[in-house]
Assembly symmetry: C2
Homo-oligomer: 368 residues x 2
């Protein structure tokens, strides 16, 4: 399955996107890449504290040379701009929503079921609602108390399953502990499973010659970023770090469907850095800050960082900041392309959710 | 999911199996392994035809030394005996069938649907029937003509779905070309999908924290061989060659569920030998004779060869013989364990089908 977002009718704007991006690229030449100034200073075999004055003088001169060379020839990865791409996708979805409505009168609808009152979940749901409004998708909501029963949640799912105005249903995770997540997610009609978490969808994703009705949003977003930046996947070595049901595993299946040779790295992997260093494409979804260092990467690798990890930061008014799994400073000196955190994969998830909801409405109404 | 075949009640015979096998093992010490006699003679840098008599004499002495060392210290892989293991499994299934019948009166039943008159398919179906009889599983058959309709096949599937005496349903593949394989296989009730090919089963196999109702027979057989020979999977590097829906892909998912670090090699993989050489466990299901050479393997690797490929053989009355994907002669000098072809994975497929049918009957009748 080619995980392209666009229906054939959107191909013009996709071409525009592809056309714009190369203008901002820098030429990559991994073989002439130099060790960075910071690295040469902190290099373990020349500890500055024990240098004699003459050696110290020599070191300073070398460092200056390194530094000046770096500014002219050292490479810095191209930034994969998830904000920009997600904006383009939302614009494309918005245009398609108008086209669908004008031709058929149908307005795509997305229903979100929120159980309990977790602040983060409430924020996510609010953001999804706003994003729907912005592209003309109607949103529906069921807010259920923390102590409601599984049967009540399933009853709401069943109502949305039957409602012809709802084309996508999303159950906000995590659910309260007394509920069986599998049973609830499997209750969502596979025709409206815009999250793509139904095992039937995952099975089809894994199988050759089968296509899922929906691809989970975050991994779909990762692959879409590669497509929009014209990064080939076929015949490439790819490493996925982390094997969660919602990101790592489906990302690996998508890469594999696109004919990459995929290795999955996880908490039981010995020497993950050795395997990762072989990859042309790295997708990291481990949820561990600073896990992927510069020396984990092959020069010129493409790095997609799905991690969103809070780390203490006294300078930040909230007392923390969000970072990815990848040490950006190091990795951006080795990679050819890299996603920042925030502003990389993050904005793509909602964009893909909107895209899946549109796709569902188009499919249900047999609109092409 | 631990892909063990045995119910707790069978644990005694499993222990016996594990106890028997180590007695036939040889001590493996890859670091002291020597190049084999045949290899040193055919070594490209000492072509025997252009040696001077003195050099030739020297070479003979060295070769003799190599040869004598080889007989005492060179390693030859342990043979993983699929015939023996499948026999043990059939005996265990047979004992469980008796126990189930005595306790509940239920006899497990397997229905096979055969469409058309392909000779190889007829042979497979006959063998399955015989194997069922041997362990006390009742077999049911529907033989349909080549030109029957998809609806007719689906009607037979539906009948078997409803029949309480049938616990497993198997549609013999390949189907005639005018039929949609996906639609037909998806018609089999997931409760009776003993082949494990339903996308819902594959999805559950792929997902963390979910278990399929059935694991496809051939890959389950591969993993069972590893278990019965006490070969650890957890934390090991594994390479699966080939990504078919019936072997390669589910084998990779099983290895991954057992916490190996898995890479999938396929026809779009560049330098497959480099990746394969990193693996502690290699499962080859490419269907290409002689694909995996000795130098594709890490010394001490465990090699499971799923390939069954006919190659011309004038000495054979049939004019051909069956070989695996792996060059056995070369590989057995490098690997620590290896399956032969025939007599390796082959006999395991039917054994696992019987095991899945028993499992289904036990589950449907809530018998433990």
């Amino acid at each position: 399955m080619a995980p392209t977002l666009l229906s054939p009718d959107c191909s013009t704007s996709a071409t525009t996107a592809r056309h714009l991006i190369p203008l901002t690229r820098k030429l990559l030449c991994p073989t002439t890449r130099l060790v960075s100034f910071e690295r040469s200073l902190s290099s373990p075999w020349t500890p500055s504290l024990c240098l004699s004055p003459s050696v110290s003088k020599y070191r300073t001169a070398v460092s200056a040379a390194d530094s000046s060379s770096m500014t002219t020839t050292a490479t810095t990865a191209n930034i994969i701009d998830g904000k920009l791409i997600s904006k383009q996708i939302k614009d494309e979805v918005s245009a398609e929503v108008v086209r669908l409505k004008e031709a058929t009168g149908v307005v795509p609808g997305l229903a979100v079921i929120l159980v309990g009152s977790r602040k983060d979940s409430q924020t996510y749901v609010r953001n999804k609602k706003k994003a729907c409004e912005a592209v003309g998708i109607k949103s529906y909501e069921a807010n259920l108390p923390e102590d409601c029963t599984e049967a009540e949640v399933l009853r709401h799912i069943e109502e949305f399953n039957k409602d012809p105005e709802v084309h996508g249903i999303l159950v906000q995770l995590p659910l309260p502990r007394h509920m069986n997540e599998e049973r609830i997610l499997t209750g969502v009609s596979i025709q409206k499973d815009v999250d793509g978490f139904h095992p039937l969808n995952i099975g089809r994703l894994a199988m050759q010659g089968r296509d899922p009705l929906f691809v989970p949003c975050t991994p779909k977003g990762c692959i879409e970023l590669l497509h929009r930046y014209n990064i080939d996947i076929k015949e490439k070595r790819a490493v996925v770090i982390g094997r969660s049901n919602i990101v790592g595993m489906p990302a690996a299946l998508l890469l594999q469907k696109a004919n990459a040779t995929v290795s999955m790295v996880h908490s039981y992997t010995k020497f993950p850095e050795e395997i990762t260093r072989q990859a042309d494409i790295v997708i990291s979804a481990a949820g561990v800050a600073n896990l992927v260092r510069g020396d984990w990467l092959k020069p010129g690798a493409v790095v997609i960082d799905v991690g969103i990890n809070p780390v203490d930061d006294a300078d930040n008014p909230r007392g923390y900041r969000l970072v990815g799994d990848v040490n950006f400073e190091e990795a951006s000196k080795v990679a050819s392309y890299i996603t920042p955190v925030p502003g990389g994969v993050g904005p793509m998830t909602i964009a893909m959710l909107l895209s899946n909801t549109l796709l569902s409405a188009q499919r249900i109404h047999n609109f092409k």
